[in-house]
Amino acid sequence: MIFRLVSIIFIGAGLWACSSVNTLIVHSDPVKMDNEHVSNVHIESMIMPYRDSLSLEMNEIIANSQTDFSVKRPNSNLGNWVADALFVNQTKAVRLSSPIICLLNTGGIRSTINKGQVTIGDMFKLMPFDNEIVWVELPVSVIPEIEEYLKKSGGEPISNCTLKNGKLVFNNWNENASTFWVITSDYLMNGGDKMAFFSKKINVNNTGVLMRDALITEARVQTVLQEDTTIRISF
């Protein structure tokens, strides 16, 4: 018994000397950064000049919202709003002859729009990336790939079309069409989020318009953000 105790201690001392083996007891205590916490004067003074310069621009009110808009797969009021706003922004001055849809990515919508006043700053939070709107012409043969992508990803924001039972239905289909146009972001067209079907593009129309700027324009036009909760995607 005594021998055993001594040998345990012996091994212990040996390992300790190597300082390679430990028992780690870990306590985890994540701290929620809520109102219980106070701010710090030094840090506030560091932020202040930046904040002041931003707030002039960002606090401008551009619209109102009567509901909370948030994004989720496969359908959401915010996904619908963003896709519709970009689609309207791009097509209001155009007579559509070819089939055309808007296809975005859920991951590109980075924030909510909250009930109440909507500011320029909200639009920066929603769409922080400096991505531009592009028009991409694709052959109709890639439609099954888009359907497959939407099924696999669980849904992305779309406008002027629906995905019914896994099949893409255009709002302005043309029986003779061999190609169609997609309004999307340069990020997605260039292979972002693995939308590989964009590599089969036939034509590209670079608008040079930032997606965020188009959303700001449409929010101003709407005055009160128009909510659409229709189910656009079903598998």
Binding site: V6, I8, I9, F10, I11, G12, A13, G14, L15, W16, A17, S19, S20, V21, N22, T23, L24, I25, V26, H27, S28, D29, P30, V31, K32, M33, D34, N35, H37, V38, S39, N40, H42, I43, E44, M46, I47, Y50, R51, S53, L54, E57, D68, S70, R110, S111, T112, N114, K115, G116, G121, F124, K125, P128, F129, D130, Y187, N190, G192, K194
Partner: protein, 300 residues
């Protein structure tokens, strides 16, 4: 010769008794060596608290409050490490307008010890990152991005060893595949190295250098439905890593998740959501009173 062995053994046994004795005494007073690890991930330029009308997180977060909290913890705890797992940039106009400079200044003020790069830290291009990084006086750890042919050459490092009291902590950084996630012109000639191979190499190096605790700052993401590389997969397919502090998937974990590594040892994985809504706090107690052949991690 025999006499020498005897003397040696006696010395070690006595040493063992002395150490064991003092350790047990320490335990009674709860004075085992302790390390406090504070960590964030995916803060995404959230410098101010979330607005009061925010749908999910009204008034939460904010760097000023985080600074105050870190200061308070530093007053209470002797050995504190502050780490970040990437995606510091992008998410508020502070980034669009000032390119990440303020984020770097504030993390420096909060005393961050190290960070790794997330995919969004490339959003201003590598030149944009470099401009902002001038204001950071902590290292960026990127072991599996080979920047040799880019302007970020020698601007980041693979790993870092920090001594906190008797505890030697080894930290390295692992990033995710940029192709398909970040436009090519933003990461240029960066070569992506296999995360599992690199992590095993780094952990072996740090172990050889005598680190007591080996931490991987990862931006791979917590887990995926597919077999895509994630923190869980990384933990299973490597050895010598004790703790993975993750990011990218914005996962809120109430407590660290345990995985078994290649040697059957426990690896802890933690992640604290995003936006600076939480500050991760892990207390590691290095209890020398209990020994095993393998490192034992007990989560309480």
């Amino acid at each position: 010769m025999k006499r020498r062995e005897f003397v040696q053994n006696t010395f070690l046994v006595t040493g063992g008794l002395l150490i064991a004795g003092s350790t047990f005494a320490q335990n009674e007073k709860k004075k085992v060596p302790k390390l406090t690890i504070l960590h964030t991930n995916d803060t995404h330029s959230n410098i101010d608290p979330f607005p009061s009308n925010h749908a999910k997180f009204p008034n939460m977060g904010g760097v000023s409050k985080r600074f105050e909290l870190i200061q308070k913890i530093r007053e209470e705890e002797e050995h504190v490490l502050v780490l970040d797992s990437g995606d510091i940039f992008q998410g508020t106009p502070y980034f669009n307008k000032f390119g990440g400079v303020l984020e770097m200044k504030l993390m420096t003020a909060m005393g961050y010890d190290a960070a790794t790069m997330g995919n969004h830290d490339f959003d201003g291009g590598m030149d944009g990152f470099l401009k902002a990084q001038k204001f950071a006086d902590f290292p960026f750890l990127c072991a599996n991005y080979d920047f040799s042919n880019t302007i970020l050459k020698d601007q980041t490092q693979s790993n870092l060893i920090i001594k906190k009291g008797k505890i030697k902590v080894g930290i390295f950084g692992i990033g995710l595949e940029l192709n398909g996630l970040v436009p090519k012109d933003k990461y240029g000639e960066t070569i992506y190295l296999d995360p599992i191979e690199t992590a095993n190499e780094q952990a072996a190096i740090l172990k050889k250098k005598g680190c007591d605790l080996i931490i991987c700052l990862s931006h791979l993401g917590f887990e995926y439905d597919s077999d895509k590389i994630s923190d869980r997969v990384l933990a299973q397919k490597t050895k010598n890593i004790h703790l993975i502090l993750g990011g990218h998937t914005h996962t809120f974990l109430e407590k660290p998740v345990e995985e078994n590594n290649l040697d059957g040892q426990i690896v802890l994985i933690n992640q604290v959501g995003w936006g600076g809504l939480q500050l991760g706090r892990l207390e590691f107690e290095f209890d020398n009173a209990i020994f095993a052949k393998k490192d034992v991690i007990i989560v309480k």
